[in-house]
């Protein structure tokens, strides 16, 4: 927006707007960075929480100048060129008011750079953060060191975990209507409604569902992964603070969706070791009855599937044949 029509008395509006904008942006950004930024939820309990907080704050640092830029511009226009203001000049139409190549090029250039930077930065954070705590599907492309070995070993009966050896802890999250339960394959595959995690450890959450879609949201851990039936959705994070956290279901899953939450805790590695071995032996009687540890659990076609599909009554479809050994004996 050039100022071709600027007369002697006309102030240089764009410069004024620019100055107000820069001052407001600097103050806003500084205030945000030092006062708000460090407290942005969900805190810094894990590696993904810490890096996602940084990501949020960087976005906010860029968003504030954008917001201020547009607000200042609009506000300035409202004050300066409101029709009721005494002596406001008649506007000038014509070609100059219809488009301004410089302004358009600048606008497109700046917003493109901003957008491309954000996409690039987000991608780097995503990859560097091993998926940033989000669900990465059954075969994660970005994962912490040792995760592949731990995941592969988890399916064997020899899987184990000992503190201090930097082993990735594999936790299976089983969502069902309407509760999460957790299996620990490295501790004999016991299952528990309690989620306890060791400090300073990379955790591989393997999230699956026994029925409809749920979403495992460990809020303070900054982990969120949808639980789909017959799908394994893996999310990683590394704990770095002791404390309690909340787990909620964040995908509408039916009647008791709102009641589908529990609290977990991050404890010291030795306390975790202690809890896990104790629970493993306490639950041993039930663990042997559980379905063998697997990434997903196919329902019994007749009983647990609810009898919606008339399996087995229509030839040639036979659930026994199609499900084969995966079908639990009933």
């Amino acid at each position: 927006m050039t100022t071709e029509h600027t007369t002697q008395t006309e102030p240089r509006h764009l410069r004024r707007i620019g100055i107000i904008w820069i001052v407001a942006s600097i103050i806003g950004d500084l205030l945000y960075w030092f006062l708000v930024g460090p407290h942005v939820p969900p805190g810094r309990m894990t590696s993904s929480a810490t890096s996602d907080q940084l990501d949020f704050n960087i976005l906010m640092e860029l968003a504030l100048p954008v917001l201020f830029g547009i607000w200042v511009f609009f506000g300035y226009c409202f004050v300066t060129w409101r029709s009721k203001r005494r002596g406001v000049a008649e506007p000038t139409g014509g070609a100059a008011a219809r488009s301004n190549l410089r302004a358009q090029v600048w606008w497109i250039a700046v917003s493109s750079i901003l957008v491309l930077f954000l996409a690039g930065f987000g991608t780097i954070e995503l990859i560097a953060g091993d998926g940033s705590g989000g669900g990465e599907g059954p075969n994660p492309v970005w994962e912490p060191t040792g995760a592949v070995q731990a995941e592969t070993a988890a399916l064997t009966s020899s899987a184990s975990w000992t503190p201090g050896t930097n082993h990735v802890l594999v936790v299976q999250v089983i969502a069902q209507q309407w509760k999460f339960t957790y299996r620990y394959p490295q501790f004999g595959g016991f299952e528990s409604p309690q989620l306890v995690l060791p400090d300073n450890t990379s955790i591989a959450f393997n999230v699956t569902s026994l029925d409809v879609i749920h979403s495992f949201w460990a809020y303070q851990l900054e982990v969120k992964a949808d639980a789909n039936p017959q799908e394994n959705n893996v999310a990683f994070t590394t704990t770095n603070q002791l404390g309690n956290f909340t787990v909620r279901c964040s995908e509408l899953c039916g009647l008791w969706h709102g009641a589908m939450y529990n609290y977990g805790k991050v404890v010291s590695t030795s306390a975790f070791q202690n809890w896990a071995t104790t629970t493993e032996s306490a639950n041993a009687a039930n663990t042997k009855d559980l379905a063998p540890f697997a990434w997903t659990y196919v329902p019994d076609a007749n009983g647990a599937a609810g009898g919606y599909y008339p399996d087995g009554t229509v030839t040639p479809y036979s659930p026994v044949e199609t499900y084969g050994a995966k079908q639990p004996a009933s």
Binding site: Q176, Q177, S192, N286, G306
Partner: protein
């Protein structure tokens, strides 16, 4: 029509609309607790244990969904009531008795075959104590009584699916085939605690969790725990 006439018309139409909305809310959305609340805190000395007796039935036999499975509760006067919100005193021992009239099936997740959160993590089936039940054997599990937020879960073992005298309409009497499951638990502090069943018993619904499993007053409700 004069202006006053038009004004009256609009106001009348508005009143009619409001009435329709109120009626719609009352009929379709039904604020409040479905069925109502059975109160176990009245006529109860403070601190003394509460006896809570319920039954499960395979097909309730009356109401809007006669084929649905449901819980019934015995109110303090000893009458069976179709109602799943129970008002209980806080920090009090609850002695719960379940008359199980329904047959069983394998659990979707054998985790719920474990008795959890009761006093001593144990329950009794027809007088015999148990802590774990393998649902792939025997009669399977009919239902579980579970309060997820209290980590309370008790598998209610099913009756023989081929029993000659199954109960098909509530309330059932003890001359029908049944199991008696007893356990005790402590109520926590005041609050609303939802309870539900983890057996896919909503027959004819995908994963067995639709219909009665997804409708309050059938296979789920609240423990309304109040401070005394």
């Amino acid at each position: 029509m004069s202006m006053g006439g038009r004004l009256v018309t609009v106001i009348a139409a508005f009143v009619v609309a409001v009435a329709l909305v109120v009626a719609g809310v009352a009929v379709f959305l039904k604020p409040g607790v479905p069925g109502g609340v059975v109160n176990f805190t009245k006529a109860q000395p403070v601190g003394s244990p509460v006896n809570l007796t319920v039954q499960t039935v395979g097909a309730i036999g009356f109401g809007a969904h006669p084929t649905w499975v449901s819980y019934l509760v015995k109110d303090p006067e000893g009458k069976w009531i179709h109602d799943t919100t129970w008002e209980l005193p806080a920090h009090t021992m609850i002695h719960m008795t379940v008359y199980q009239y329904d047959s069983g099936s394998p659990l979707r997740n054998q985790e719920w075959g474990q008795v959890q959160g009761t006093i001593g993590d144990t329950a009794t089936l027809n007088g015999k104590s148990y802590t774990v039940y393998n649902s792939y054997t025997g009669n399977g599990v009919g239902h579980t009584f579970a309060v997820p937020s209290l980590n309370l879960s008790v598998p209610l073992i099913g009756i023989d699916g081929n029993a000659t005298n199954p109960c098909n309409a509530a309330p059932c009497h003890t001359n029908y085939a049944h199991n008696v499951i007893k356990f005790s638990f402590m109520t926590p502090g005041a609050g609303n605690y939802s309870w539900q069943c983890f057996v896919p018993c909503g027959l004819g619904y995908l994963y067995g969790n639709g219909g009665p499993m997804s409708t309050q007053n059938y296979m789920g409700g609240f423990l309304q725990v109040v401070a005394q």
